[in-house]
């Protein structure tokens, strides 16, 4: 017969408690087509209306999880910020369902390139007063990785990328990032932006209570005008979005003597090593 079991917290804590700390933790989130969703092109552009599922960009999920652990340890406030169209508001509600306190939606009207997005995000971080900024190392749509460092530059603070965890020790923020020998622990004097790679923490699931509370949470909707940011023109023009080139027919070789040929094709034709 069943023993009574206590419900256990599953996530490994990667943020240690520092007595008395109450951080304002800003997490920058981006809504992207789910990494498994089909991408359809029509009339030279990706047809967003045919994207079956929109999700929080996967590396951002790790940043959010780390932020939530930090909030649990320090008793702070987690501010989830996104710059995007109306549909991105649903992602903020999903963030609230796992514990985000303040939800900020910046309209992407007038945004033409990465500098515009970074200016808006940096302005929002300043407006809401963050002690630390977390984001994913790169977004799953552009795979660019500019946002973290770009926002840090505008805020004139350090950025550490590819981090797997963030801690607070002796008045400094410390983090772990890869190095040539494995990993290294890095510390900052003051505020910083941390761009997350996949970590070892299990991403927490929402539960019904979280979902019902999230439903009631108000999303602060702001524009570039509210932030006092002039976007202006961009010297980048999108010419087209096209399907990837059709893959060439499979090539078959008889005998192991062709291995070097195939390996160089993997590098030069396929570009995969």
């Amino acid at each position: 017969m069943k023993l009574v079991r206590l419900v256990k917290l599953k996530h490994k804590k990667t943020f240690e408690r520092h007595r008395g700390e109450n951080m304002n933790i800003a997490v920058l989130l981006k809504q992207v087509p789910d990494t498994t969703a089909k991408i359809t092109i029509s009339a030279g552009k990706v047809d967003e209306s045919l994207v079956s599922k929109w999700s929080m960009s996967p590396y951002d999920e790790y940043a959010l999880e780390s932020g939530l652990q930090m909030k649990e340890a320090s008793g702070g406030v987690l501010i989830a910020i996104t710059c995007g169209p109306e549909r991105a508001k649903k992602m903020l509600t999903d963030a609230a369902a796992v514990g985000a306190d303040t939800l900020v939606h910046i309209s992407d009207e007038g945004v033409k390139d990465s500098t515009h997005v970074q200016k808006l995000l940096a302005a929002a971080v300043k407006k809401f007063g963050a002690d630390i900024v977390l984001c994913g190392k790169q977004a799953a749509d552009t795979n660019g990785g500019s946002t973290g460092p770009g926002v840090a530059e505008i805020l004139e603070v350090a950025c550490v990328t590819l981090v797997s965890e963030v801690n607070y020790e002796d008045g400094k923020i410390t983090t772990i990032r890869p190095s040539s020998m494995g990993t290294e622990k890095v510390s900052l004097n003051g505020m910083g932006v941390f761009a997350f790679d996949k970590g070892s923490s299990e991403l927490r699931r929402p539960n019904v209570r979280g979902i019902m509370m999230a439903k009631k949470k108000v999303i602060e909707s702001i524009t570039s005008g509210d932030l006092g940011v002039e976007l202006g023109i961009s010297n980048i023009t999108l010419d087209s979005q096209t399907p990837p080139p059709a893959k060439a027919a499979g090539q078959k070789f008889e005998g192991a003597e062709h291995v070097p040929t195939v390996v160089s094709k993997l590098r030069n034709e396929a570009n995969v090593i």
């Binding site: 087509p33 552009t142 795979n143 500019s146 290294e184 023009t237 078959k252 008889e254 192991a256 995969v272």
Partner: protein
């Protein structure tokens, strides 16, 4: 016209990507002004065709990698269109320089032509974006997507001293024994099937995995019959994987296995049976026993990586 190239080094010599940046510039009729952080490999850079001049930036701000210090120091000698390799450090430095100069950045391009028109993959390669750049910008180039420039030049080298605040400190190095990646995380997977003969022979696949940083997978037959861990199983009842490269060794390609890996970007199949169904989905197929093909693969890949 000239482009600014930020060099990437591999110890004391230039990383091959630097040669690719320079040739990409030449291709659109631009000369390269190569900036060498910390003065590394400046004389090698000066010998590359297409280089107009080399600027060696020296200072103790390069002691450790702090994106804000490096970008602050390098920015002073950057101008116009700035090309950097889309390596992790390159992306970070590029983004900061772009933000500092209030110019856009385009990451990870795979082609560049006059205009300047560039293309880059988006949505993990499910689409290609073509963009025209009509002014200053930072552009990062995907490694190995461009030809390398040749040697045969002698460009002048200027040395510039720069200092910048380092905002981070290294507390300690943690030398972790690198754990091999899980099949669901790896960008390259090498999998073995019944054709490998025995579980012991998987050590050869592990060697290759270590060379290219791949994960090792297995077919269901091998998991069920030889007791390989279930987490390595790729297929209908194992994991579904979408790596850039899937190498299937001694795997026939039954429908259950294909279900787990057919969405891989590129598939290389090695099998001694020329009629094995796996060749129907492979981009590159080598008809050979694993005993002959795997050692050859190991040495070809080692050479490539060095």
């Amino acid at each position: 016209m000239s482009f600014t190239i930020i060099a990437e080094t591999n110890g004391d010599s230039l990383h091959p990507t630097t040669y690719q940046l320079i040739s990409a510039a030449s291709n659109v009729g631009a000369k390269s002004i190569v900036i060498c952080p910390n003065g590394e490999a400046a004389s090698e850079a000066s010998k590359i065709e297409g280089v107009e001049k080399v600027i060696s930036v020296v200072g103790d701000c390069f002691d450790i990698f702090d994106g804000s210090a490096w970008s602050a120091a390098l920015n002073s000698v950057c101008e116009g269109k700035i090309l950097i390799s889309a390596s992790p450090n390159g992306r970070e430095i590029g983004a900061r320089i772009a933000a500092k100069r209030n110019i856009p950045i385009i990451q990870d391009i795979v082609s560049m032509s006059e205009g300047i028109t560039v293309t880059r993959p988006i949505y993990s390669g499910k689409a290609i974006e073509t963009l025209t750049i009509s002014g200053d910008a930072v552009i990062t180039l995907r490694p190995n997507a461009f030809e390398a420039a040749a040697l045969g030049n002698e460009a002048p080298i200027n040395i510039v001293n720069q200092s910048a605040d380092i905002k981070i400190a290294i507390q300690e190095a943690i030398n972790k024994a690198s754990e091999r990646l899980d099949v669901t995380e790896a960008d390259i997977i090498i999998s073995g099937g019944r054709g490998m003969g025995s579980i012991d022979n998987f050590s050869h696949l592990e060697k290759i995995a270590d060379i290219v940083g791949a994960a090792v997978g297995a077919s269901r037959a091998v998991v069920d019959e030889w007791g390989m861990p279930h987490r390595m199983q790729v297929g209908q009842t194992g994991k579904t994987v979408t790596p850039s490269l899937y190498i299937a060794v001694g795997i026939s390609g039954a429908i259950q296995h294909l279900a787990g890996m057919r969405s891989s970007k590129y598939i290389l199949a090695i099998n001694k049976d020329p009629d094995a169904p796996i060749f129907g989905v492979a981009d590159y197929g080598i008809v050979s026993t694993w005993e002959e093909a795997i050692p050859a693969l190991e040495s070809a890949l080692s050479e490539l990586k060095s």
